[in-house]
């Protein structure tokens, strides 16, 4: 997704308001953007707190800054700067976190982003976008270019199976119309789930949805999802994010307020470091029951 981000921003580079700040990351990835933006591409160095406040100052002068780093370095390190300098003033600064969830795998826990959107959505005015597929990225960027306030873009690695056609982009999309449980997924995990469920018999196949734009509100939940829950009576939420502040909590809260919570609810989410051992994204997903096999097992029970 990072390369698509770069290419899409290169396409927007002629817009005089776009400024891009990186915390010294982007080697062999962002060079085309650096060349296209010239002095509006700023390597702010390894100083994320300063970078975020500088972005707020830039936005105050009418520019539209994008701030890029590995996800935890863009949301956790400068959290107070995001809170006070950007969100409290509703400034249009876009934070881009590369490597949502366990995407940085064996680089270790310091590089993982397990609580990014939960933490950020506690802040006033913040909007979050979690693209599930590479094709979502340019469409989301177009939206972010017009966002009146702050935004966070969580990037990962697209896992869409080959030859799979996607429905047109929307905040909520139905990917499969199975007769099994209603399943809501977020991020690239949606592709991983598709790869093992698309060929299941209809009775076992989930009614699979992917949600991309956060926070959730009762009004934002599509009627199709509510009607699916009515018939399936079972909701499974799958996300590479801790339970606190995650989509599982947000969605069940909205459904509870609406009196539409189904009797059976499973939340598959990031559980941190279950064995206190580290490995690839695949390794961590498996430890948390986020791997396609564990999901398949639940569906086939």
């Amino acid at each position: 997704m990072r390369n698509i981000l770069c290419q899409t921003l290169v396409d927007h580079a002629s817009g005089p308001k776009l400024v891009f700040l990186t915390g010294d990351l982007g080697f062999r990835a962002l060079e085309p953007l650096r060349d296209a933006l010239g002095e509006r591409f700023i390597n702010a160095g390894i100083a994320e707190q300063n970078m975020v406040s500088v972005a707020a100052g830039l936005a105050r002068t009418g520019l539209r800054p994008w701030v890029y780093s590995i996800a935890p370095f863009v949301y956790a390190r400068p959290y107070e700067q995001i809170r006070n300098d950007i969100c409290m003033h509703r400034l249009p600064v876009i934070l881009v976190g590369n490597g949502g969830g366990y995407a940085y795998g064996s680089m270790g826990g310091t590089h993982h982003a397990l609580e990014d959107y939960g933490a950020l959505l506690c802040l006033q005015n913040m909007r979050v976008y979690v693209p599930a597929f590479a094709a979502d990225v340019p469409i989301i960027i177009d939206q972010l270019m017009r966002l009146p306030g702050p935004g966070y873009l969580r990037l990962g690695r697209c896992e869409l199976p080959r030859d799979m056609e996607l429905p047109e982009y929307a905040a909520w999309r139905r990917l499969l119309r199975g007769k099994g449980p209603t399943m809501v997924a977020a991020g690239p995990l949606a592709g991983a789930i598709l790869s093992v469920t698309a060929t299941l018999p209809l009775e076992q196949q989930p009614d699979l949805w992917v949600v991309t734009e956060l926070p959730l509100s009762a009004e934002s939940i599509p009627e199709g999802l509510l009607s699916s829950l009515r018939s399936s009576q079972r909701l499974i939420v799958v996300e590479e994010h801790v339970s606190s502040g995650g989509i599982g909590q947000m969605l069940s809260y909205c459904l509870a307020l609406m009196g539409r919570m189904p009797p059976v609810f499973t939340h598959r989410c990031a559980l941190g470091y279950v064995s206190a051992r580290y490995g690839s994204q695949k390794f961590h997903r498996k430890e948390c029951g986020l791997d396609p096999e564990s999901i398949l097992k639940e569906l086939c029970q």
């Binding site: 702010a44 707190q49 300063n50 707020a56 105050r60 520019l63 409290m88």
Partner: protein
């Protein structure tokens, strides 16, 4: 300048009244910062300029200064620290254009000022940027991140004053951090820096004139609680509110100046 000195006298009295009426503290660091803000707002700032009060706990002095230039009315100052107010103890967002950022958590203002200076540079916008820091803020790592950033980039003119009153929340700056602040320290970072008397209106005005392009740091030697004998250089006036007796004495001292 004589007119300005009179205005400072009047504004200091108003500042004391505000703090007494509201029963709040932070008066010491407001009195140390007042001269710099008064010189800026009365003689330096133009419409296209920006001022960032990084030491947000001197909000009272900022409000009083804005009152002294007619930007805030008497009735507005009565709302200082009250309910349903925009004049909170630290500057609130979305209040006045003269207050572009809500501040109060230390270590943000210099980076915000750097961002505004960079934005002006990139867009070739006119105007200068001014920022007032507390000396305690130099203990925040983010302030040094900002200094490194500023030393590396030639931005629109940015003049930084550090209110060096040498007292902070729970001790002197030397006791708490051991950090010896000198102009030399900032020069070592590659920044132009000088030391001035932060209560000398001529020195402050002259510092503002001298800054052309790039960043200039002024380590302003000040006195916490300046002008009120029982507050001067007393750490507790970071927090304390005045008793009636102290308030009357403060007014008496100001009138005899």
């Amino acid at each position: 300048m004589e007119k300005l000195k009179e205005a400072i006298k009047k504004t200091r009295k108003r500042l004391i009244e505000m703090h007494y009426d509201s029963g709040v503290g932070h008066i010491g660091g407001n009195l140390s910062a007042l001269h710099i803000m008064m010189v800026l707002f009365h003689t330096v700032l133009e419409a296209q300029d920006t001022f960032i009060l990084s030491k947000g706990h001197a909000a009272g002095a900022l409000y009083a200064t804005l009152w002294s230039i007619g930007r805030l009315k008497d009735e507005a100052l009565l709302q200082f620290h009250r309910d349903d107010t925009k004049l909170s103890g630290h500057p609130a967002p979305d209040f006045l254009p003269e207050i572009p950022f809500s501040t109060g958590s230390l270590g943000h203002g210099l980076s915000l000022a750097a961002g505004i200076a960079l934005g002006k540079t990139l867009q070739k916008q006119p105007g200068r940027v001014f920022c007032l820091l507390s000396d305690g803020e130099l203990q925040e790592g983010s302030t040094w991140e900002a200094l490194i950033f500023l030393a590396h980039r030639l931005l629109a003119p940015l003049t930084v004053f550090i209110d060096h009153n040498e007292l902070q929340g729970f001790g002197t700056t030397k006791e708490v951090s051991g950090l010896q602040l000198t102009a030399e320290k900032f020069r070592d970072f590659g920044l132009a820096a000088e030391e001035i008397d932060g209560h000398d209106v001529y020195a402050i005005a002259s510092a503002c004139k001298r800054s052309s392009s790039g960043t200039k740091i002024y380590l302003a030697h000040t006195c916490k609680g300046y002008g009120i004998s029982f507050m001067e250089n007393q750490m507790e006036w970071h927090y304390l509110s005045m008793t009636e007796e102290q308030y009357m004495q403060a007014l008496k001292e100001l009138e005899s100046l």
